[in-house]
């Protein structure tokens, strides 16, 4: 990873039995395929919607279109181009990291965000897999806190066994703290 580490300051001195991944991690490369497939499906739906709108709403009511089919074609080209290229960009800006005391997530192509979830605030952790993800050997990790939008914290494209390992690891911290 050529990017600088996420954290500018030194880590806390809190010692913990949990293994630490200290480098920032990218998602599994297969997630790009998953995003492309779902993007292409949306693009297809979008094209049909625009096409039907042109056919049944714009053409009969306004008759302003010089080249019939041009708006639909333009919308389709744009949608399919985005569906193919956007996942690459999204993948490039996605970084996650699990530290002894916190989970860090950095993402966003246009609107950047960097979320920090202290591990002592994690309520529970889910892994989720859709049929498409299973086929690509992927899984999502969803982290819940008591915060209002706690469920927003999701790491989408992890290798399935990584997701399971992380889920168990994050759950283990709670046990450690329960004893002290």
């Amino acid at each position: 990873m050529s990017r600088p580490p996420l954290e500018p300051t030194a880590d806390s001195d809190r010692s913990c039995a949990v293994t630490e991944t200290d480098s920032t991690n990218a998602l599994h490369p297969n997630v790009v395929i998953a995003w492309r497939v779902s993007g292409l499906l949306s693009a297809a739906v979008w094209t049909v919607v625009v096409g039907l709108t042109e056919l049944f709403v714009i053409v009969p009511n306004w008759r302003v279109i010089v080249f019939p089919g041009a708006p639909t074609a333009a919308a389709a080209v744009l949608a399919f181009a985005l569906a193919l290229t956007w996942p690459t960009l999204r993948y490039r800006f996605w970084r996650w990291q699990v530290r002894t005391d916190r989970v860090l997530i950095e993402k966003g192509v246009i609107w950047r965000s960097r979320s920090l979830i202290p591990r002592v605030r994690i309520q529970h952790v889910d892994t989720r897999t859709s049929p498409l993800q299973r086929w690509l050997g992927l899984a999502s990790l969803v982290i819940f806190t008591a915060g209002t939008r706690g469920a927003d914290v999701e790491i989408p494209g992890l290798a399935a066994d990584d997701a399971v390992r992380l889920r168990d690891e994050l759950a283990r911290l709670e046990e450690i703290d329960e004893r002290t």
Partner: protein, 505 residues
């Protein structure tokens, strides 16, 4: 009331079936009305169905019972589907009593019990006697966890409670009038009145205009039309009419705002008994709410511009109990509808006794924030001018508005900031209504540092401090436009501090 039986199970107040069937009949009556217009129903059918509803209300009353034990509140109910729900005391965020006009007449109230999570209320006891409601509140949020208040041998609960340190604050009628006069709501109401007049002509503006303008100038329709007509013919009459209307709508909007404030917060009392906060207010609908201060997620100090000038503010608290299904103005609890700036510290300390207000040292956002505040406004102005100048080049004069926009941007910048004080984080933002938040570090759930494309170009960003309970992102503790490195460092530092507080809920 059914006497407290040995097992502790209690019924709701005996007038419950009445209220329940009134509630059901209200919907039924509308249905009947609609149906009888089209089909024509026989009287026997209407009465028969009404009796059926009343019967159902009685049956569900008989099947509803609850009790308070060491665990918490247990509720059994259901006519066909029987349900039993246990709400542990340690999970209860607040107990709210609410009684409308009719309920006040019967001396009863609806008790709602809220826990963290979930959309709405966890349990709603509709209706209980008022005294019973107070007993429930005391049992569920009052004494619990105040070891000082545990009754020693031979002591009654009331005596035990009297040992706790207490305080009481009231808000008088005059202050409520000031609260209504200084809320930004007056402006919204003026807009609403104007709209109502324009669409329905319900506001007596015609009558008003007939007093101040020559009758031959008046158009038959709404006041707005009358004025537009008059403008072309008689300028002085137009100006007089405009002034009259402005004063009328201003006074009416303001009056309404004052009336609403007085009705809503009439007889406002804040009482603290040990760690329990009790708030009661309302003229027609009386609300009595109880919550533990240890459950408060954050405190919000709201200062609409008029109040800021007068040194006044509203203080609200956020608990995790108010879910997104509640109405917007019910999601936070009011601690003081209006308070003077010098009282503010005292109010906040009722909730956070370990906060030292004198140690709060506000730090401004990054100076480049000014540029963003200005560019945001300038972009709108330039866009409007560009569109208008297609019609007429005189529109270019509107570019002069950039000067006040620059001043506004500077004013806006002065209201952005954040502060640290002991184990608290404070944030504030807002020009027209400034909102300041006070968040205990131990209540922080997550920290997000976000950047819009504009912020990225200026190397600044917004740090959002997420706690439980704030459903809206833009009415939540966040500090706008921190420098990139500083913001990230603050985020990391707060993260470390949260970890140090350990597992708390």
């Amino acid at each position: 009331m059914s006497g407290p039986d040995p097992t502790g199970w209690r019924r709701l107040h005996p007038v419950t079936p009445l209220f329940r069937s009134l509630q059901l009949l209200y919907g039924y009556a509308i249905g009947v009305l609609a149906a009888s217009l089209s089909v024509g129903l026989s009287l026997a059918f209407i009465i028969g169905f009404g009796v059926l509803i009343a019967g159902w209300a009685v049956l569900s009353y008989l099947r509803f019972s609850y009790r308070v034990d060491e665990e918490g509140l247990v509720v059994k109910h259901g006519v066909l589907m029987r349900q039993r729900r246990v709400i542990p005391k340690s999970r209860i965020q607040n107990v709210d009593l609410r009684s409308g006009l009719l309920q006040q007449l019967f001396g009863v109230a609806t008790a709602r019990i809220e826990t963290a999570g979930g959309g709405g209320s966890e349990a709603s006891l509709h209706v209980v006697g008022h005294e019973e409601g107070v007993r429930l509140r005391n049992a569920l949020v009052g004494r619990f966890s105040d070891f000082a208040a545990a009754p020693v041998a031979g002591e009654s609960e009331a005596e035990a409670r009297s040992r706790l340190d207490t305080s009481e604050r009231q808000v008088g009628l005059l202050d409520l009038v000031i609260a209504g006069a200084t809320s930004n709501r007056a402006g919204v109401l003026v807009g609403a009145l104007l709209g109502l007049d324009y669409v329905f002509g319900v506001v007596p503006t015609d009558w008003l205009l007939r007093r101040v303008m020559p009758p031959e100038l008046l158009a038959p329709e709404t006041a707005a039309n009358a004025l537009v007509e008059a403008a072309g013919r008689d300028l002085s009459a137009f100006l007089v009419g405009l002034a009259a209307l402005t004063i009328f709508f201003g006074v009416a909007g303001w009056g309404l705002s004052i009336l609403m404030s007085v009705v809503r917060y009439f007889g406002f009392t804040l009482r603290r008994i040990g760690g329990e906060l009790q708030v009661s207010y309302g003229l027609f609908t009386r609300r009595e709410k109880g919550l533990r201060r240890s459950r408060v997620q954050n405190v919000q100090i709201e200062e609409p511009i008029l109040r800021r000038w007068l040194g006044l503010a509203t203080v609200k608290v956020q608990t995790a109990g108010y879910g997104p299904e509640l109405k917007a103005d019910e999601r936070m609890e009011v601690l003081a509808p209006i308070a003077k700036r010098r009282e503010m510290a005292a109010y906040v300390q009722e909730v956070f006794p370990d906060l030292d207000p004198s140690s709060i040292d506000w730090r401004p956002s990054h100076p480049r924030a000014r540029r963003r505040m200005f560019l945001r406004r300038a972009a709108v102005i330039v866009l409007v001018v560009a569109v208008l100048s297609i019609i007429s080049l005189h529109a270019l004069l509107l570019l002069l508005a950039l000067a006040p926009a620059w001043l506004l941007a500077h004013a806006h910048y002065r209201h952005l900031g954040h502060a640290r004080s002991g184990s608290f984080v404070l944030t504030r933002e807002g020009l027209w209504t400034r909102r300041s938040y006070i968040v205990p570090v131990r209540k922080i759930q997550a920290l997000h540092f976000r950047q819009t494309p504009f912020q990225r170009r200026l190397r600044i960003g917004t740090l959002t401090v997420e706690t439980a309970g704030n459903p809206l992102d833009w009415h939540a503790p966040r500090t706008i436009d921190l420098g990139l490195d500083y913001g990230r460092e603050l985020q990391a530092k707060l993260g470390t501090e949260v970890t140090a507080t350990g597992l708390v809920f």
